[in-house]
Amino acid sequence: MRRKGHALAGMSTIAWKEAADHFSSARFHFVMLLVILTAFGSVYGAIGEIKNTIGQDPFLFLRLLTTAKDPVPSFVAFLGFLLPLVSIALAFDSVNGEYSRRTMSRILAQPIYRDALLFGKFLGGMIVLALCLLTLWLLMTGLGILTLGLPPSGPEIARGLAFLVACLAYAGVWLAMALLFSTIFRQAATSALAALALWLVFAIFWGMIAHALTIALAPIDPTNPMTLVNAVEMQSALARISPNTLFSETAQALLNPQTRALGLVFMDQMEGAIPGAPLPFSQSALLIWPQLSGMVAAMLLIFTGAYVTFQRQEVRA
């Protein structure tokens, strides 16, 4: 039977309904409370550190996000660690939860296609994440204006907004991943555990795995310096499979304007370079463009996987 009307009709209804459900759910409140508390803690520490150590800096507001005060990590490090958790909390039961609550057939009894349901669920999660990140960023900037007594400059705002986009792409990867697991596994607990296991692998163990793989795939010959170069390049390529690596590189280039390159740099490339000179925003954006487009593409492909899986499932009442 050919379907009538637009394939994605009803998608926005699902998306906004999904977002509204998230905003009122206790689980989401709990996770966001965790994020906001850690964010306040790290930014508060950063403000103290900035007041003590930095006399003058053209990018004070970016320092607010990247400065760490022992033992509290920086805001960026916290986000890299906790954003996947927020995404997983949002989506680990979004499809299998409908089955277990026996509401799936009721939704699909409405004039809404299956495609629109999954797209709507994903978009709803993205709306929630975008609103939360924007709020968080505004909170931190406001805190910075209050305590530092300075307004942020134009490049700082541009870099901050670009960082928000990068955060959203990173969280989107994990949202798509959790959505995929929620379509694959019928039990919500299984999908949550699978997503959390993957999160732990990428957040904690991926560095070690990349290192071990490099030693196995590209052994270093001490007499041939080129093998060393190959090994370093291999290791960084492997590390970049992890979205966490992509995110931390993006954050580093966007929030530290002095960052000029993200990979291996040879001495002759640095000859005559003026150290500490900040890159213009457009050049920083160009620098992280591969990372950002990689994250966006990964998000789209993982979501496509979830979509294909979901479309091939049988929905029974």
Partner: protein, 395 residues
């Protein structure tokens, strides 16, 4: 001058003493038989000219040839009203002197004319009274008005040669040819922009006037500093000294040899520019000659990171006139593997005897081709998703 003996005194002395000595002492003296014997009071110059209003002295001597020791009382006759005089012998004021046989006493007559003494000739008589004779020497003193005051100014080396950046130091001697102490005002007239200062010869204090004692001279130094941008040529400095009544001038010459001076300037005055990695960019540099002579064969070179290509057109500027400028294009190609950010490039201009350099900051931008590749990856992902939607979309 023995010719100044008065004929009368000579007669008196000889008549009184020669007779008595002829028998008794003829054998005991070693003087030649026909040399005169006696006691004389003499002066070298019995007629002198002195300045009005000044004290003066006359040298006298009392001689004894072959006569017994004689006490001579000294006095001066015909002294005008208000004049003072005094005899000095052995450094002390004396009234009388004694002289033994074959001996000579030196005496000094010190005279102070009256303050209002007229300028004319005065006749006086110097009188020496011995026990049995009277020695007298007529003297004449002419008072003359003082010589006119005058000032002399001499430069040891009146013409010097040097570049616009050097100091021209002239040694000057000012002589006060007048009987009174004076304060001499110093002035120098220079071409506009030149700076002239008077100093002591071995001192750093700047002077505008200097006191000089009567008949003495003083050595001064005049430092002339030409302005930096003065064209080459000969410049004259007039130096004048004046006491208010008299003055003296001299002319000094500065021969300034010009030299070129280069000033390098970036494109429209800026010291930075941007270039894309691996692509050629061109910046216009301007070389200014701010010196006083033409700059010849000005070569332009740049020191850039390895892998960069830099050349200038023209690479050599043949001549830049004083105050003129010339432009050159710098063509720069950053290495294709240069990473984004700021690099410093040293640009040098080097002429004969003049050079200037600046640090030019090149902001390297990376090409946006890889940005398109990223968009392509996202596009492929979107296409995959669209394919999945068309393949698996439930109809």
């Amino acid at each position: 001058m023995r010719t100044a003996f008065s004929p009368l005194g000579f007669v008196v002395l000889t008549s009184g003493l020669a007779l008595a000595a002829s028998g008794a002492f003829a054998d005991t003296t070693s003087s030649p038989p026909n040399s005169p014997t006696g006691v004389w009071l003499t002066t070298d110059y019995p007629a002198v000219t002195e300045q009005v209003g000044k004290s003066f002295t006359m040298d006298l001597s009392l001689e004894n040839h072959g006569m017994p020791p004689e006490r001579v009382q000294l006095s001066l006759d015909g002294v005008p009203e208000g004049w003072h005089y005094e005899f000095e012998g052995g450094g002390n004021p004396v009234k009388a002197a004694m002289v033994g046989p074959g001996d000579t006493r030196s005496l000094t007559l010190k005279m102070t004319p009256a303050s209002g003494a007229a300028a004319k000739t005065y006749a006086l008589t110097l009188v020496g009274e011995a026990d049995n004779q009277k020695l007298s020497v007529p003297i004449s003193v002419t008072l003359a008005p003082p010589a006119p005051a005058s000032l002399k100014l001499d430069a040891k080396l009146p013409a010097l040669r040097g570049s616009a950046s050097s100091n021209f130091d002239y040694d000057l001697t000012v002589k006060n040819d007048s009987p009174s102490d004076v304060t001499v005002n110093l002035a120098a007239q220079t071409p506009p922009g030149f700076d002239a200062t008077f100093k002591e010869q071995y001192g750093s204090q700047e002077l505008t006037s200097v006191p000089i004692k009567a008949n003495e001279s003083k050595d001064l130094k005049l430092s002339v500093k030409p302005p930096q941008d003065v064209p080459a040529g000969k410049y004259k400095v007039e130096v004048g000294t004046s006491t208010g009544k008299v003055q003296a001038e001299t002319a000094l010459l500065l021969d300034i040899t010009g030299q070129p001076k280069l000033a390098l300037e970036g494109p429209s005055g800026m010291l930075s520019g941007s270039a894309v990695a691996g692509k050629e960019h061109s910046f216009t540099f301007t070389v200014n000659n701010t010196g006083g002579a033409p700059a010849r064969d000005v070569k332009l070179t740049a020191d850039a990171p390895s892998g960069w290509k830099i050349d200038f057109s023209p690479a050599k500027i043949d001549q830049i006139a004083p105050g003129g400028k010339a432009e050159a294009q710098m063509r720069i190609t950053p290495a294709s593997n240069a990473i984004a950010g700021d690099y410093s490039v040293d640009v040098d201009s080097n002429g004969q005897g003049a050079s200037d350099n600046l640090k030019f900051r090149v902001t390297v931008e990376t090409s946006t081709e890889w940005g398109l590749a990223g968009l392509g990856i996202i596009g492929i992902a979107v296409l995959v998703m669209a394919g999945a939607v068309t393949r698996y979309g439930r109809r």
